[in-house]
Symmetry: C3
Subunit: 284 residues, 3 copies
């Protein structure tokens, strides 16, 4: 379904200063090695566009913004990827550079975005969510430390207590709770969010890029983790993900519909907790 | 209307340990060069008062706490101001020293406080807002990076996502949203806020100054940006504010009632976005 | 009533990976020198248990989680305590090591937890509160800087404005306000909180300790204050607590029922403010 080299980021240039990017990769919008390559290209294009001030990321996939990382990805391809401009693996390099783009980046979150999808939205500037949004970092439930920086980002965004609830609990975080915790900016009704985000983006699109860039640079100083801290997270991820003793559990998830629109994917965070306690599938 | 040297900060010494300061400068309470000079004097008086433990800042101006910086200020006078005790320009020196005063500072926010007015309230310790309060940093909409530290302060107070929404969106933030974002502490009904703040201040006024000062010093360590970070913001402000290509837009705002109680000033953040998109006034 | 060497932390080992600890010390659950010694032992046991991933702290005492530090404690015993593994006094050493435990720690807060009790819950990872919970740091009202780190922790958790309101106001913070401020994670109805926390803990108990530990280590980097900052708070506490001029006020509190389940202890934060303003008891 994924990793076929097809275009995943559909860019609509609404105005010279405003791009609207719709993500599209299979029935649940997985992230995979192609996503990493294509996101790197998109980020580079945004970095070099002198007219652009705002980019919106969105999805038309029913129920899904970005499900999570594709468990069937080619690990050898991932391992062989060359470092990006930060000197770090491109999975993380992308997210670090996404945060520092000289434009405002906004996520219009409808449906589920977990794991790598949550890391993506956390790497953008502003997160508006409809009541259909569900966020989460379920990695703890499959034995892994998340790799794309959510310890660093949620720690600073939601505070220690809520970051630890999200990351150690690994449960689904519905939109209202996500807004209460600062995980998203606010909830906008699903019927209005597309117009709301478009209007917000058009405001910024009418502003002076020098001001937008200058403001972001100083908010970056106040709020962004250093690259070393981000790198430590990716190292912990590679050290913990896909260990042999967790493979049977991953297969159990696939038997329950992982990476399909219905079944376990609809309530993945909750389901992982239940399956871990009652569903077995783990080798000693 | 402003810059006439009249007293803007009216100090009522309710108790030796409790001062109540009412700001008054023209029909919308603009900040101007006189404000800078008088605030410096007030801060110095507070720094040296051995009995004082709490200061409340408030406004009796209908609809306005502090509108924003006076666009008609004498720029030459501002440029010629001598550095304050921190070695920085007194506009910023005031706000840095205001945060570090050895007393609790509380804003009772009724009505609008944007731009420099928002920077003022962010420099105080505690912000209580009535439902009539509207906050915002509209500077991005007139082509400027805000100069009084809101990137540093909102980044730490509201988190990266909400700080960027406020600063890059430049829109009006009504009281309830401001409370949800941590921009103000909480909303207190307009009919009750004066008594509420007075009662809160009287509590602190009855406490031991040694304890108040000792607590603040350690919260300062945990939460205040360094002076260098604040200075970078002011440098960015002076580099971006009042550039020739934005002057026609400022004139358009004046034509729409800028710095008058009615007209554009009532919904300035929203209005700037609309005028930028539809109202023209910008030279290429 | 306290300081009698009886066991205060009752540990129920629900699962090898899940301990449930019920605190019990007199009618209002005071913290005292025995608490310090016993908590040090408990922390050491948790540090060395290879199977443990989650610990819940709770109380069965009606109306009280942990009231606060016992005003009648033996100060000579406290002063004579030997430093813990961090090199700091064990009161603070406990709280620093509690935060860094290689397990998830959760407080199920029913009833009041103020002063040292507030510092205890702030040192744990996740705070769930029922609507019966009341938190606060009333120390300012008895002339002291709190010693267990709330300036550092609340500053990072609730933001500067709300941290200063809590710490300089010294008032009672009911559960809903505590949740709005990030002081606790969220409010769970009192009739449900025991089951809710148990279900949350059982999730984590089913997860891989390597992932739990790896996640915490990186959230620690993003969110924990340094030991030096914590040490400065304890130094300020010892320099301010129990000064002679505040002793008559402490006696006034005892006359009003301090450390008893009813009377002043039910609304201690509010009561201290009222007694300071109207009740006298202070020597010049």
């Amino acid at each position: 379904m994924t990793g076929n080299g097809q275009e995943q980021f559909h860019v609509s240039k609404v105005l010279p200063s405003y791009w609207r990017v719709t993500f599209d990769n299979g029935p649940v919008n997985l992230l995979d090695p192609d996503t990493v390559d294509q996101l790197a290209d998109l980020i580079e294009a945004i970095e070099h566009d002198a007219d652009l001030t705002v980019v919106v990321f969105r999805s038309d996939k029913p129920g899904y913004f970005m499900a999570h990382w594709d468990f069937r990805s080619d690990n050898a391809r991932i391992a062989a990827m060359r470092p990006g401009p930060t000197g770090l693996h491109p999975y993380l390099d992308n997210f670090i550079r996404l945060s520092k783009l000289p434009v405002a980046t906004i996520c219009e979150i409808r449906g589920r975005t977990r794991g790598a999808g949550s890391e993506f939205v956390l790497a953008t500037d502003i997160r508006f969510a409809s009541e259909t949004a569900i966020l989460g970092q379920f990695e703890v439930g499959v034995g892994a430390v998340p790799g794309g920086g959510p310890m660093a980002r949620l720690g600073r965004l939601a505070g220690r207590g809520r970051a630890l609830e999200i990351l150690l609990g690994g449960d689904d975080i519905p939109a209202e709770l996500a807004a209460a915790y600062g995980y998203v900016n606010r909830v906008v009704p699903d019927a209005e969010i597309e117009d709301f985000v478009d209007a917000f983006a058009r405001r910024i699109a009418a502003f002076d890029k020098v001001a937008v860039t200058g403001i972001k640079e100083l908010v970056d100083v106040a709020t962004l983790p250093g690259n070393d801290e981000m790198a430590a997270g990716l190292t912990a991820y590679f050290a913990t993900v896909g260990r042999p003793q967790h493979r049977p559990f991953a297969e159990l998830l696939f038997k329950n519909g992982l990476q399909q629109p219905d079944g376990v994917e609809t309530h993945l965070g909750t389901a992982i907790g239940e399956l871990r306690q009652h569903g077995g599938g783990e080798e000693p």
